[in-house]
């Protein structure tokens, strides 16, 4: 049981971060429009998050401090503030999308309009963040989120032409009727969705919540190596289901209800029950991660007392920050802003903010003052620098491509 809970942080981070509303929607959109032609972008994102989550977990375990605290101390308040502003904007946008996502998933289960579920979802989040222990929170959402494996089972049940799927993945091409700019826009969206900054902030803060030390480095590596590839596999399954069922019927995904139709086609109501539970758990997990990440980053920047391991009364400003972020999310959603659209924008803006997150992690992971003998090796550094180049290109190209393609329309 202890081992099981030991792996839960990685699984929760992966299920919650990889298969959040952004990933569900983006992968289904991509699958329905490009088939498996963007698998390379997903693989690139999975490898990137493996590299940097492993780095941030190591920094937290060795130094006993989170990425955000060290960034402020090591790079100074200005760099820290730029990082804070960028990541808080993305966190709140992601949080808004996740709350909307929970409401949309509850609408799928009940057919009651999602707007009525928005306050319920936000209240549920607040209660869980306020009252529930970190270990319970990660175990329950992580394990329930595993029911999303039904997406992978559905692909097998649909009996696809495996050769055709393999060709789409191995020989990527822009399908007729789609523009190259749209293809690249969604490549960046997939990459951004896979490497969302809140994943590493949550992972490194979670490591502190669980009191990791140097002894836990192996556990951190295993967590990352199991959790994120699992998230990547689920993402690929979502895209494959959409490619098999929706693409031949010219259905372009614009809503969550379309995302579950391939699962219904494959496994009927039983599969649907599993997928709805999984979607609610995964998005709820992601919403908890983004809520906590919002509190973590702001509290850590200002040096406030923070953490779930403290009673709320002893980390009052940390909890108030999270409540304020939730209120902003509710307010935006109650204007009838489309949660799916917010999601699509949030993954693209996440791509823009990637350098603000990943450059400082690479710098800190190379600082002997904090890391001692556990600094990055040469191979890790070479990969890290290579990724920073890709991240910079994605960050620069994201907004122009968004304008040119009309946000992928």
């Amino acid at each position: 049981m202890k081992n099981l809970s030991g792996f839960a942080l990685g699984i929760l981070t992966a299920i919650g971060a990889f298969v959040d509303i952004g990933d569900l929607v983006t992968n289904a959109v991509v699958g329905s429009r490009f088939g498996l032609g963007l698998t390379w972008a997903l693989a690139l994102g999975v490898a990137g998050i493996l590299l940097f989550a492993q780095m941030s977990g190591r920094v937290a375990a060795v130094s006993g401090r989170t990425i955000f605290e060290i960034v402020r101390e090591r790079l100074g308040p200005r760099a820290g503030l730029a990082n804070l502003v960028g990541s808080t904007f993305i966190n709140v946008m992601s949080l808004t999308a996740q709350v909307g996502g929970i409401a949309l998933a509850l609408q799928l289960a009940s057919s009651v309009d999602y707007l009525l579920w928005v306050p319920v979802a936000a209240f549920g989040l607040w209660i869980v963040v306020w009252r529930t222990k970190f270990s319970v929170l990660e175990n329950v959402t992580g394990l329930l989120g595993l029911t999303l494996i039904v997406f992978a089972v559905a692909v097998f049940l649909l009996g696809p032409d495996w050769g055709s799927l393999a060709r789409q993945a191995a020989l990527p091409a822009v399908p007729s009727g789609e523009q190259p700019a749209t293809y690249w826009y969604y490549a960046i969206a997939l990459f951004g969705a896979s490497m969302t900054p809140y994943e590493v902030f949550f992972y490194s803060s979670g490591a502190i919540e669980e009191k990791w030390t140097v002894k836990d480095l192996t556990r951190s590596r295993i967590n990352v190596l199991i959790g994120f590839p699992l998230g990547g596999l689920l993402s690929l399954s979502i895209a494959a289901g959409a490619a098999i069922v929706l693409m031949p019927q010219s259905i372009q995904v614009t809503s969550l209800s379309q995302v579950v139709l391939p699962v219904a086609a494959a496994g009927g109501k039983v599969a649907l029950a599993f997928v709805i539970v999984g979607i609610i758990a995964a998005i709820f997990g992601a919403a908890l991660e983004t809520t906590l990440s919002s509190g973590y980053t702001i509290a850590q920047f200002f040096g406030w007392s923070w953490g779930k391991f403290r009673r709320p009364a002893n980390a009052a400003r940390f909890h108030v920050t999270m409540i304020l972020c939730l209120i902003i999310g509710i307010a935006v959603l109650l204007t009838r802003a489309d949660p799916v659209l917010i999601t699509e924008y949030s993954v693209v803006f996440a791509a823009v903010a990637l350098p603000l997150t990943y450059l400082p992690i690479l710098i800190v992971a190379n600082d002997r003052q904090y890391m001692g003998e556990h600094v990055n090796g040469k191979a890790t550094n070479a990969l890290g620098v290579g990724y920073l180049v890709i991240i910079m290109v994605a960050a620069v190209a994201a907004i122009p491509l968004m304008i040119i393609t009309g946000a992928g329309a």
């Binding site: 609408q107 009727g177 209800s257």
Partner: protein, 148 residues
């Protein structure tokens, strides 16, 4: 001085490239009408798939109902985009009328499917009608020059 001038030239060149790229990405009215038709095909096919799954007992009432509501929103967006197009020629204008008429028929068909489902009536008729509309919309998309 030389550095400043080179920097400005590079910035101006970059701006020109950006503007040219943005402008080359602008769609013609017929392409925009084509996008509305493509969106409508997606909505009609979603509704058809949702009620087919419901008929076969593979989907729940809540999911089918939500899928139909989402299909209606998609059709509303398509109609909105087609209505707001600023057209110049009579040929484009008649293409718009044809597109809007098809979107209206699609909206009626999805609404009819929703009513049939709420009243627990057979969905066969609605499914057949949606199938016909999908074919008509696909032909219209071809006429507007939508590839694929």
């Amino acid at each position: 001085m030389w550095h400043v001038r080179t920097g400005r030239t590079t910035a101006a060149a970059a701006l020109c490239v950006l503007l040219a790229t943005i402008l080359s990405g602008c769609a013609t009215p017929r392409e925009q009408l084509g996008a509305s038709v493509t969106q409508s095909i997606s909505a009609v096919q979603t509704a058809r798939l949702a009620i087919t799954l419901n008929e076969h007992g593979a989907s729940t009432f809540a999911i089918t109902s939500t899928a139909l509501t989402d299909a209606l929103s998609q059709l509303t967006d398509a109609a909105h985009a087609a209505t707001e197009l600023d057209l110049s020629g009579g040929r484009d204008s008649s293409a718009r009328q044809a597109t809007l008429a098809l979107i209206r028929q699609s909206t009626d068909a999805v609404n009819a499917a929703r009513e049939a489902m709420n009243e627990r009536r057979s969905l066969y008729e609605a499914r057949t009608r949606l199938g016909e509309l999908a074919e008509t919309l696909t032909a219209e998309a071809r006429r507007l020059g939508v590839p694929g």
